[in-house]
């Protein structure tokens, strides 16, 4: 979808490498107090520990909000306009953006989702999310392993 694939650095790169190694969506988790957090941060905002791991999540979540773009500066995305981008609240608590194969008109706030990841490079995974029962159009379906 995206023509643009970033080359992350620092703890964002560590997160991508963890997802790629596990072939699952992983999220940063505090060793000190067990809280999940995203995007990756140096210190836990609750207990200030700087000890954290990246652990696989269940892959369940729901739509907290979403964007519907009718124009995109990225030619890869423009070809699919209008397209939705989901703001997903994972069951573990943290939230992140996800691409979706679901048409914008079929998305509702609160809808249950299953997330999965697709490695676009050795250093970057894209997160996908769709309603668990949704049939993916073949042309847009990433080859990726899901958590759920």
């Amino acid at each position: 979808m995206s023509t643009y694939v970033p080359t992350p650095e620092w703890i964002v790169l560590d997160w991508h490498h963890a997802c790629i190694a596990a072939e699952l969506l992983c999220i940063q988790r505090c060793v000190g107090c067990g809280r999940w957090r995203h995007p990756p941060r140096r210190f836990c905002p609750a207990c200030q520990s700087d000890q954290a791991t990246f652990e696989p999540v269940t892959g369940g979540g729901s739509v907290l909000s979403f964007a519907v773009s009718h124009r995109s500066l990225d030619p890869g995305w423009q070809a699919h306009a209008p397209y939705a981008t989901l703001l997903v609240e994972l069951d573990e608590g943290p939230r992140l953006l996800a691409a979706t194969t679901t048409p914008p008109g079929e998305i509702r706030i609160g809808q249950r989702l299953a997330v999965r990841t697709e490695a676009l490079s050795e250093h970057f995974v894209l997160v996908w999310a769709d309603p668990a029962s949704h049939d993916e159009p073949a042309s847009m379906a990433p080859r990726a392993r899901g958590n759920a």
């Binding site: 979808m1 992350p8 995007p39 773009s69 703001l87 953006l97």
Partner: protein, 392 residues
């Protein structure tokens, strides 16, 4: 600090280039033209300036000083809050003056907002860019790969939530777009002067990023603006009536560097800045005569009006209806046309317009305007507020 700071400084000079789509002038020339105009408007000389707050990008304070002929810069600082920067800069300018670090502070903004992406064939090229500050990393790593590159797309993540939470109707923001366009018809520098906007035009326009249609989005322009801030004591000896900086504030959402993990997606920087600013200025929302609200997008105006206390959450669509924000209404809003219809100068054009309103010299003058409120909004929801008043 409060009693020594608020109400002790004033805006004494304003400068403003034309707002155009495709300038023949280099971005540095735009910035320097507006800066020199502001200094001259104040009845000062470059040598009188000893504090500089440059734009977020494009030119440094050192360069600006050298080109203007400012011999002794005693204080400079850069403010990186995107479109909230210029209005937030006023509090920094006032602090420098009240603290004795500088006497006369120049605040500048200017950019090639239109030409950066669409240079004219004969335009003078530039490698100068804006400083994206904290936003760059988040957009690069977490938003752009998901097809969200533009501000309209980023903000639509919380605007969707706003619309869904309060059942905001699809035409809720039309009154903001049309009021700004109507006011632009009266402003001699407005890009959209001579191009009225009807309700039918608004409704027929395509979506950019839902709920934002074409006319909910501001006009990208090449332009520059500048203001000079000094002590109220010195201001009373200068050419124009002093426009007093009564109070101001900045605020940031938590976390400020990304949208998704905020406890409340609808709590922005201005929700924190607004109560601070009103308390510092010692006025309440209903004392204000003119509203110059940062209008990168119409729906962002609605959210800010609620944060400022002009309406309950979800109530801004009713507040902007029935001519309330038009010239002649109770709360005239963006009397210069705003970013939506005058041009996008990161809200320093709002400060320029508020100053003219309080001098009584605005093109679309609000009768007996004594108090004006300006907001800034930028990056991923940072906010700033300035409350200005006529000297009494």
């Amino acid at each position: 600090m409060g009693t020594d700071l608020w109400g002790t400084t004033a805006i004494v000079g304003v400068g403003e280039t034309d707002y155009v789509r495709g300038s023949d002038r280099h971005v540095c020339d735009l910035i320097l033209d507006a800066a020199m105009e502001a200094i001259t408007d104040a009845g000062l000389k470059p040598a009188d300036i000893n504090g500089i707050i440059p734009p977020p990008g494009y030119m440094s304070a050192e360069e600006i000083a050298a080109h203007l002929g400012v011999p002794d810069v005693a204080y400079h600082v850069s403010v990186l809050m995107g479109g909230a920067s210029p209005t937030a800069s006023l509090q920094t300018a006032a602090m420098a003056i009240a603290g004795g670090l500088a006497d006369n502070v120049l605040v500048c903004m200017g950019w090639n907002g239109y030409s950066a992406l669409r240079p004219k064939p004969d335009a003078r090229p530039t490698k100068r860019v804006m400083n994206l500050g904290p936003m760059g990393e988040t957009v690069r790593n977490h938003y752009a790969p998901y097809g969200l590159m533009s501000a309209a797309q980023h903000y639509s993540l919380y605007l969707r939530r706003y619309v869904d939470t309060f059942g905001i109707p699809e035409d809720a923001a039309a009154a903001v777009a049309i009021a700004c366009r109507n006011h632009a018809q009266l402003n001699s520098k407005a890009l959209m002067r001579g191009t009225p906007l009807s309700r039918a035009d608004y409704d027929a326009a395509p979506f950019i990023a839902e709920p934002l249609r074409k006319f909910d989005c501001c006009v990208e322009t090449d332009c520059a603006t500048a203001v000079v801030v000094t002590s109220l004591g010195r201001a009373r000896d200068l050419v124009h009536p002093a426009v007093v900086y009564l109070g101001g504030a900045e605020g940031h959402p938590e976390p400020a560097d990304e949208i998704a993990n905020r406890a409340n997606l609808l709590e922005l920087g201005i929700h924190r800045a607004a109560p601070r600013a009103f308390a510092r200025a010692g006025v309440s929302p209903h004392d204000i005569d003119v509203l110059e609200i940062y209008d990168c997008f119409t729906y962002v105006v609605l959210l800010q009006l609620e944060a400022l206390g002009y309406a309950e959450p979800g109530g801004a669509p009713a507040f902007v209806a029935d001519g309330n924000i038009e010239l002649g209404g109770r709360f005239p809003l963006n009397t210069h046309g705003g970013l939506l219809s005058q041009g996008h100068c990161w809200g320093l054009n709002h400060v320029v317009e508020a100053t003219r309103q309080l001098r009584g010299t605005a093109d679309a003058q609000v009768t007996d305007a004594e108090l004006a409120l300006v907001t800034g909004y930028g990056d991923l929801g940072d906010g700033s507020v300035a409350i200005l008043g006529r000297d009494r």
